[in-house]
Structures are given as structure tokens and as C-alpha cells.
């Protein structure tokens, strides 16, 4: 398969992830969207690494995955704390920063 196919797939996954982040009302759903966007980036890295015969892309991906795991842990912890305090994880009701 040509490189363009991988990149198109990555762009689709990214767009789906962004859509999820923008439209989901549940904080956990927003986190899931972010995961999708990060994995779209991973697809890009692996694809470029493969086509340029460069291992750096794959290695970077390993890093990204581990960082993503940490990010999810922190993100979920924040969501749990928010739930404990506000008794909700609905994004529309989390507007403490309103001007």
C-alpha cells in the first residue's frame, strides 16, 4: 500500500478523535477522543519510519505510547476528583473559568 493510504487513515482517525473531543459531553468521552488523536499521530510516525527505513519513528512511537498511558492516568484521576467534588462529569457544567 502507498504511504498516502496510511496518512489518510491517520487523518481520518484524528478527525474522528477531534470530533469526539468537541462534541462529547462526558469527560471520559473527551479523554477517549484525545486517545484517538494521539494514536493517529502514532500511525503517522510508524508509516513514515517504515517508508523511510528509519527506526527512529518506531522508537518515538514507543515513547508516545508510554506517555499516553501516563496522560490517561492523570486525566482519569482529574476526572475522578472532579466527580467527587461536583458529583458530575458533564463538560457543560464545568465552567468555573467563565469570565
Amino acid at each position: 500500500m502507498p504511504l498516502g493510504a496510511y496518512l489518510t487513515l491517520a487523518a481520518l482517525v484524528f478527525a474522528i478523535g477531534l470530533f469526539g473531543v468537541l462534541t462529547r459531553r462526558n469527560a471520559v468521552g473527551i479523554l477517549l477522543g484525545i486517545e484517538l488523536m494521539l494514536n493517529a499521530v502514532n500511525i503517522n510516525l510508524v508509516a513514515f519510519g517504515r517508508f523511510h527505513a528509519d527506526l527512529a519513528g518506531v522508537i518515538f512511537t514507543l515513547f508516545t505510547i508510554s506517555i499516553t498511558v501516563a496522560e490517561v492516568a492523570v486525566g482519569l484521576a482529574i476526572v475522578i476528583v472532579i466527580f467527587r467534588v461536583r458529583r458530575t462529569v458533564d463538560a457543560d457544567s464545568l465552567d468555573l473559568l467563565r469570565g
Binding site: 473531543v21 468537541l22 463538560a91 457543560d92 464545568l94 465552567d95 473559568l97 467563565r98 469570565g99
Partner: protein
């Protein structure tokens, strides 16, 4: 006479003692709060200064004509020699002034102890601290070898004058008089400082001796000198109460009487005359300015004398007479005879201090300044005799010193062919004798108006000081009469007779009007009509200044205030209002919802992406 030079070290000691006393009184609080200790420190310091001044004068050695009497140290260093220097100039002029200032200061400080005995004890320390500061400033002024240093001390004596006029600062009239004196003399000082700076720009030095040397070798730019000297003279006009800036001196009488004797009669007000005398080698190069000085001086003398004739406040009469005598001294300087003016300065310093201190005794006795409510002191020669000696000296009766110095001034003005100023000064001599004896007859010899209030016990300290000054006045006159052979300006022989006749007529008229009551003062006033009416209103000059103040100064202030309030503040208010309104609108953008921010980020990234694509193409 051979010029002499004194020891600069001794002069510095004379200068340092009052400064030391002032610093002690200013810094050490318990000393200041305890009246006897403060007075003792101040009086001891000034007595030491007097003794040192005497030693300086006795130890003065002869000086070559080209030898500088100044000792200076570098103050503001600059490339090619210091820009400004400080030091002391100990020549005949400053040594005579040292003696006068320390002597009168000492006597006045001793007298004050008795005069201000009923004052709150804690505020007397302040009084003596001011006195020490004044003595230091005045001595520094007369010792100054440069214009710049003189200006600094000039302002310091002005400050002391302000502080001491306003000594009773809880009286509104005293506070106002202090401010008035300060501002009106500042008006003249503006000219003084501008003149000094212009002189420096033209010659590159402040130093008197260097300037005199340049003047004698013709190295001075004579064309640019007249405006400079005129501006410097303006400083003297303010300080020495010359017309039209004389209005502050009568009001300055709000201060304690010993202060008036020291500052507003004997020493500080003569600083202007001293300045003209000191800088005379420069004034000599500008004959037009000298003529102006003579005319203004003579006019001031006459104007002030006419106002003294209708004044009822004994201290104000003396204040007007001081203005009048300062006019005399200035006229002498203007007639290119500053030695005569300076001699009058010295003798006047002694007998005017005597008159003020004598007036202080009368005020102490009657608790009023109004001469119409005094009288009945004929039986107390211990009180009236010194005052009469001072009055005779001021009126110009031989063998008292006022006669000789006044005659020398008249002769100088006559020799300089200044006919109108001469006539004005001659009339002034007559008026002086008249108004002074008017005061003497009314204050001492008239029938007492109400005997009840007077208490005739006067502290012997006060009378003692007056007797000492009277003896000194007499001694100066006798020395002048018998031991001084030469006269600087020998007038025509009829001048002697004229002086005597003028003084005699004045005294006689005062006697006829106020003692014998042969002539009704009201009828004389009626005959003089407009002049008397105007003199009583001080020729409208105070009203003029007050009006100028109200119209010009307050008007400008209001205008500036309006500009500040409505234009400057307005612009700022509009700007801040706009900022607030814009902020109010923009806050709606901040919804606080995380997803809205992500929208923003995504759209921004998209926009950047599109822009990048568009630019690359």
C-alpha cells in the same frame, strides 16, 4: 588706608561656633527642651565668636594691593580648574561685618532671655537654635569669597528670617507675614540667581577676587555687564527692602522684637547693601545701574519716611525708618561712594538695634505697640535715655555717629551731581528727625492714657543691654568726631549747616506738634491732604500686590487647574472608560467551557495551516 587681611583660621572659628551651637540644639533634644541650657549654649557660642572676631580684627596684617584676601577650596571639580570654590574672604569689609553681626547677635540673644521670659520654656530652645543658625548664615554670607557661596548663605538668612518672623506661628498674622517676607524676597532672589549664572556664563568664575582682577585689567565683557549687574541688584532690592519690594519689612514686625532688632534692622536687611558694597568694583563698570541704584535708594528713603510719619505702631515706625536708612545706604553706593554707605550700615546697625530693643522695653511696659496708648515715662530715665540717644543718632545730631555717616552720604550724592536724589535724601533727613521725635514725645513724655496697665518694673538685663548699646553709639560718634581726620567725600561747607538745620527743624516741629500741642496734627494732615491719605494707605502698594496676587496668580492657578481637571484628566478618564467597556464586552468570550477552547485551538490551527498552504503556493 592700607587694606588688611585677617586670619582665615580664626574666621572659620567665628563661623564654626554658631554652627556647632545650632547642630547641638537641633540634634540633642533634652538640650533643646531645656530653656536655660539652650540659651547658655547659644549665647556662649556667639560670645566665643565675638571674642574670636575681635582677635581676628586685632591680628589682621597689612595686605598688598594685588594680594588676594580669599582662601578657597575646590568644591565642584571640573576639567581645567574647579567650577566652584568655597572659602573665606577676610578683608576689612568682612571683618567689620563680623564684629557687627557677632556683637548685635550676642546682645540680642542676652536681651531675648529677659524679653521672652514668659514664653513656654520648651519653645525657647527652638528660638535659640534659629538664632544660632542665623548667626552662622549671616557670618557665612559676609565671609563669602564667591557669588555662589554668598547666594547659598543669602538664602539661609532668608530662611532664618522666615522662621523667626513666624516664631509665634499660631498667630495667623505672623504666619502670613513670614510667608509674605519669604516670597517677596524670593522675587528679588530670582534676579540674583539669574544674574550670577549669567555672570558665570560670561566670565567662567564666581570668585569675587578673580572678577575684580578681571575688571581692573579690562578682561570683563563690559557690554554684557549692565543687565547682569541689574539682575544681581534685584537680589539686593528684595533683601534690603528697596522700592517696590519693601512691603515685606513692616509686616515682618510680627516676629518677636529682639528678632526685629537683629534681623530686620541691624544685620540681614543690610545684606543687600553689603552685596552692592562687596561687588562694587563690578558695579563701578556699569554707571547706568549705579544711577538707578541711587535713584531707587533715594526714592525708597523718602517714601518710607513719609509712611513712618503717619504710622502709629512703634515697631512699624522703626521698620519704615529702617527701609528709609537702607535707601540712604543704597543711594550712597549708587553715588559711587560705597564706603559712606557701609559706614552708615555699621553705625545704623548699632543704633537701630538699640532703638528696637528700647522699643521692646516700652512694649514690655505697656503691653501694646500703639504709641498713642503710651506716655508718662518722664520719671524713668533708665528707660527713655538710651532710646533718646538712639533717636538722636538716627536723626543725625552731632556728635552721634548718624550725623557723620548721613552727612558723608549726602556729600557723596551731591558730589555725584545727583540733584533730585540729593533733594529727596535731604527731605528724608528732615522727616526722619520729625517722625522719630514724634514717637519719642508720644511714647515717653506724653500724658499717660491709662496708668493702670503699665508696670514699670523692667528686667535690668534688658535696660543693661540698651545702655551698653547707647554707650557704644556715643563712643562711635565721639571716635568719629575726634580721631578721624579724613572724610571720603568732603561736601561743600554749607552741607554741615543744612544737616543740622534739617534735623533741628524736624525735632522742633515734632516738639511743637506732639509735646507742646501748639500745632494740631490733624490740621497738618488736612493741609497735606492727598499725600497723608495715600501714606496712611501705604501708597496702595500692599493692595496692589494683593490684587496682583489675586488676579494674576490665582487666575493662572485656576486656569491651570481647569486644564488639569478637564483636559488632562478628561483624556485619561475617556481612555479608562473605553478600556472598561471593551473589557466588559470581551469577557463574554471566556465561557469557561473546555470544549470552546478546544474549538478555538482547532480553528486556529486550521487557520495557520491554510495560511501556510497559501503562502507556500
Amino acid at each position: 588706608m592700607m587694606p588688611r587681611v585677617g586670619s582665615p583660621t580664626l574666621a572659620l572659628i567665628v563661623l564654626g561656633l554658631p554652627l556647632l551651637s545650632f547642630l547641638l540644639l537641633a540634634v540633642v533634644r533634652p538640650l533643646r527642651r531645656s530653656a536655660p541650657a539652650a540659651a547658655l549654649v547659644s549665647i556662649a557660642a556667639i560670645a566665643g565668636a565675638l571674642a574670636t572676631a575681635v582677635v581676628t580684627l586685632l591680628g589682621a596684617g597689612p595686605r598688598g594691593l594685588m594680594q588676594s584676601p580669599s582662601v578657597t577650596w575646590s568644591w565642584i571639580p571640573a576639567d581645567g580648574g574647579p567650577m566652584a570654590t568655597v572659602g573665606v574672604m577676610v578683608d576689612d569689609l568682612s571683618m567689620a561685618m563680623l564684629l557687627l553681626v557677632t556683637l548685635v547677635s550676642l546682645l540680642v540673644q542676652v536681651y531675648s532671655w529677659a524679653y521672652l521670659h514668659d514664653e513656654p520654656r520648651t519653645s525657647l530652645g527652638r528660638y535659640y537654635a534659629y538664632h544660632s543658625l542665623f548667626a552662622f548664615s549671616m557670618l557665612g554670607l559676609v565671609l563669602s569669597p564667591t557669588f555662589l557661596q554668598m547666594f547659598i548663605f543669602w538664602e539661609l538668612v532668608g530662611l532664618c528670617s522666615y522662621l523667626l518672623i513666624g516664631y509665634w506661628y499660631d498667630r495667623p498674622s505672623a504666619a502670613r507675614a513670614a510667608v509674605k517676607a519669604f516670597w517677596i524676597t524670593k522675587l528679588g532672589d530670582l534676579g540674583f540667581v539669574a544674574g550670577i549664572v549669567m555672570l558665570w556664563a560670561a566670565t567662567g568664575t564666581f570668585d569675587f577676587w578673580t572678577l575684580f582682577h578681571m575688571g581692573s585689567t579690562g578682561a570683563l565683557p563690559v557690554d554684557s555687564l549692565p543687565p547682569i549687574m541689574f539682575l544681581i541688584y534685584l537680589g539686593a532690592v528684595g533683601k534690603s527692602a528697596q522700592f517696590p519690594l519693601h512691603v515685606w519689612l513692616p509686616d515682618a514686625m510680627e516676629g518677636p522684637t529682639p528678632v526685629s532688632a537683629l534681623i530686620h534692622a541691624a544685620t540681614m536687611v543690610t545684606a543687600g547693601v553689603f552685596l552692592v558694597t562687596r561687588a562694587f568694583p563690578l558695579f563701578r563698570l556699569t554707571p547706568d545701574v549705579l544711577t538707578l541704584i541711587a535713584w531707587v535708594g533715594a526714592f525708597t528713603a523718602l517714601l518710607a519716611a513719609s509712611m513712618a510719619c503717619v504710622e502709629g505702631d512703634i515697631k512699624r515706625v522703626l521698620a519704615y525708618s529702617t527701609i528709609s536708612q537702607l535707601g540712604y545706604m543704597m543711594a550712597a553706593a549708587g553715588a559711587a561712594n560705597p564706603e559712606a554707605g557701609f559706614m552708615h550700615l555699621i553705625t545704623h546697625g548699632v543704633f537701630k538695634a538699640l532703638l528696637f530693643l528700647g522699643a521692646g522695653i516700652v512694649i514690655h511696659v505697656f503691653h501694646t505697640n500703639d504709641v498713642f496708648r503710651m506716655g508718662g515715662l518722664r520719671g524713668h530715665p533708665v528707660i527713655w535715655l538710651p532710646f533718646v540717644v538712639g533717636t538722636l543718632a538716627l536723626a543725625g545730631v552731632p556728635p552721634l555717629p548718624g550725623f557723620f555717616t548721613k552727612e558723608a552720604i549726602l556729600a557723596g550724592v551731591f558730589e555725584a551731581h545727583l540733584r533730585v536724589p540729593f533733594a529727596m535724601l535731604a527731605i528724608t533727613a528732615f522727616l526722619t528727625a520729625f517722625y522719630m521725635f514724634r514717637v519719642v514725645f508720644m511714647a515717653f513724655f506724653a500724658r499717660p492714657h491709662h496708668a493702670g496697665h503699665a508696670h514699670h518694673h523692667v528686667p535690668s538685663l534688658m535696660t543693661g543691654v540698651c545702655w551698653l548699646l547707647a554707650a557704644l553709639t556715643l563712643a562711635m560718634g565721639l571716635r568719629r568726631a575726634f580721631f578721624s581726620g579724613h572724610h571720603e567725600a568732603e561736601g561743600p561747607a554749607w552741607l554741615l549747616g543744612l544737616s543740622l538745620v534739617l534735623a533741628g527743624t524736624g525735632i522742633g516741629l515734632a516738639w511743637a506738634m506732639y509735646q507742646r500741642r501748639a500745632i494740631d496734627p490733624a490740621r497738618v494732615a488736612g493741609a497735606l491732604g492727598a499725600i497723608g491719605w495715600m501714606a496712611r494707605r501705604r501708597y496702595g502698594l500692599d493692595a496692589l500686590y494683593a490684587g496682583l496676587y489675586r488676579v494674576v496668580l490665582l487666575g493662572v492657578s485656576r486656569l491651570v487647574g481647569w486644564v488639569d481637571r478637564y483636559l488632562v484628566d478628561g483624556v485619561l478618564n475617556v481612555l479608562s472608560a473605553w478600556t472598561l467597556r471593551a473589557g466588559e464586552r470581551m469577557r463574554r468570550l471566556q465561557t469557561g467551557l473546555p470544549q470552546d477552547y478546544v474549538y478555538g485551538v482547532a480553528l486556529g490551527a486550521l487557520l495557520l495551516f491554510v495560511l501556510a498552504q497559501w503562502r507556500l503556493r
